[in-house]
């Protein structure tokens, strides 16, 4: 049974996953889902539906109370602490309020992902520059985060998440704070990433965005999947 799960074409699998914070606070209840390699999936639902909790379980920020999560053939509950960092290198993570290092330039903020993995400096420079060009940030490479608009900051977050070509991109409300123009630009970047083969899990409370895209959407409400199409 477990061998079947590990050999599945689905890159993300959840089996009966629940997450509680104390007896009276259940954030997720009996979630089972599968996301195929290369898919672009929206995770929608109102605020407090459990979207962020689900993403936090996927990035191994906290363990589930019950159930199993298998990502790219690895059972997250069996990851040793030393394996955690290697697991996270397969992920690109974007938050609604992504954190930046105020004393570092845009270039350095993106490069830190590769530097943290001990990648040689020459490769870091080349890949960071290519990623900034791809995101349309080449003119901002020497700017500090405080001098950027919200949209530009979110582009930097996307560039940082993608600079090491992750298998899966996990984004929590990446367009939540943006005006329509920037939201569309960010969304276009995501589509391009997906065309390259990266699996994307895009959490948003804006259900119409998912509907307009015509892509698969998983709808959460009060910690349960109410719709998956």
């Amino acid at each position: 049974m477990l061998r079947q799960k590990l050999n599945s074409p689905e890159i993300i699998q959840m089996f009966g996953v629940s997450k509680s914070y104390g007896p009276n606070c259940t954030a997720l209840e009996e979630i089972s889902l599968g996301i195929t390699r290369g898919d672009f999936v929206f995770l929608t639902g109102p605020s407090g539906a459990g979207k962020t909790t689900l993403l936090r379980l996927l990035i191994a920020a906290e363990p589930p109370t019950r159930g199993q999560i298998i990502v790219n053939g690895r059972n997250l509950s069996r990851l040793r602490p030393a394996e955690l960092s290697h697991y996270r290198r397969q992920l690109g993570i974007i938050f609604q309020q992504s954190k930046f290092l105020s004393h570092r330039t845009v270039f350095d903020n993106v490069a830190i992902t590769l530097q943290a993995q001990g990648i040689p400096n020459k490769v870091v420079k080349k890949r960071t520059w290519e990623t900034l060009q791809w995101a349309g940030l080449e003119e901002k490479k020497e700017a500090y985060p405080a001098r950027l608009s919200e949209g530009e900051r979110q582009k930097v977050a996307v560039a940082r998440a993608l600079v090491d070509s992750p298998l899966i991109l996990i984004a929590d409300e990446p367009t939540g704070n943006l005006d329509e123009k920037f939201a569309a630009e960010i969304y276009k970047l995501f589509e391009e990433i997906n065309r390259r083969g990266t699996t994307i899990l895009f959490a948003t409370h804006a259900r119409q965005l998912a509907e307009r895209s015509g892509r698969r959407a998983i709808v959460l409400r009060q910690g349960q999947i109410v719709e998956s199409r």
Binding site: S85, R89, K99, N109, A116, G118, I119, P120, R160
Partner: protein, 301 residues
């Protein structure tokens, strides 16, 4: 850890330290002052022990002989002295030599002996001891052994003075350990809390590194290196300050030491200086490891 990781860690360490110049100055000053006090105690102890060693070299056991000592008894006594493991060498001082030494050493008191018929001063043996047996308890043991030998009038070695001096050194040593431990803990505490504040300021950076897949070593190393750098710098500064203070006072100390019967004071040896800097680095690493513990819980590092 490869070369790229090492350059990343070094850049992070230096960058973190320089970004917090004001706090770094305050913390460096506090740790340096604590280390100067710690070093001053160490220096005092080193010189007191040296003084004791120096006095030990002058320590002689004087074995006074009875006037009616027979040549056989004297020969037995010499055999006994040769058998003692504490004894380095011994020399016989005849009654005549003792008289000559007394009149030479105390010319003003020559009249004291003039009124006495004959030479009242006894013959003796001056016994020098091996370095490791120049302590009060060894002298006491040897004195007891020799006192029981026939033909011996008395055995003297400045018992009370030596005991008092050893008590002073023991007290200073205990005080040094107690004060040293307290100061050591305070240095640890200052370093740990400084690194903790640094970590709180770098919370965002640690979070970014965590999600970027930085290993436990990559996240902890800049923090441990910052502690080591702080501890090492403070130890070098403290030793430099202590050295400057010592050289400034040295001429005065050199003048007054002979009057107190003490050898001229010395500064720490190169080995001790090296050990002091290493201890500073070690204190920094231990302090920052304490600070790293919440990091392990929060970021899985």
């Amino acid at each position: 850890m490869n070369w790229s990781s090492m350059t990343f860690v070094i850049r992070e360490t230096v960058g973190n330290f320089l970004r917090r110049k004001g706090e770094a100055f305050f913390v460096t000053s506090a740790v340096t002052v604590s280390m100067v006090i710690l070093g001053a105690f160490g220096l005092l102890l080193t010189n007191l022990e040296r003084a004791l060693e120096n006095l030990g070299e002058q320590v002689r056991v004087v074995v006074f002989l009875r006037d009616d000592l027979t040549p056989t008894q004297r020969s037995r006594l010499e055999d006994t002295l040769r058998r003692q493991s504490e004894v380095e060498r011994f020399r016989f001082v005849s009654k005549e030599e003792a008289y000559a030494q007394f009149t030479q050493s105390f010319p003003g008191n020559r009249n004291l002996l003039a009124g006495i018929e004959g030479n009242p001063l006894p013959a003796s043996y001056l016994v020098s001891l091996k370095g490791e047996f120049r302590q009060g308890r060894d002298l006491e043991r040897l004195s007891r052994t020799l006192s029981s030998v026939a033909g011996i009038e008395d055995v003297e070695y400045g018992k009370k003075w030596l005991e008092r001096f050893e008590a002073v050194v023991a007290t200073v040593r205990v005080a040094g350990i107690v004060i040293g431990s307290l100061l050591g803990f305070s240095v640890l505490f200052i370093i740990a809390s400084s690194i903790q504040r640094s970590m709180a300021q770098r919370q965002e950076e640690l979070e970014v590194l965590q999600w970027a897949g930085a290993t436990r070593t990559m996240m902890r190393m800049p923090i441990l290196c910052e502690g080591a750098f702080l501890g090492g710098c403070c130890a070098v500064l403290a030793l430099a300050l202590l050295g400057a203070l010592f050289w400034a006072l040295q001429s005065r100390l050199n003048l007054s030491a002979p009057f107190l019967g003490l050898p001229p004071p010395v500064f720490f040896s190169r080995q001790v200086i090296g050990g002091g800097v290493a201890a500073g680095v070690a204190l920094g690493v231990v302090g920052s490891s304490f600070a790293c513990r919440p990091l392990s819980r929060k970021h899985g590092a």
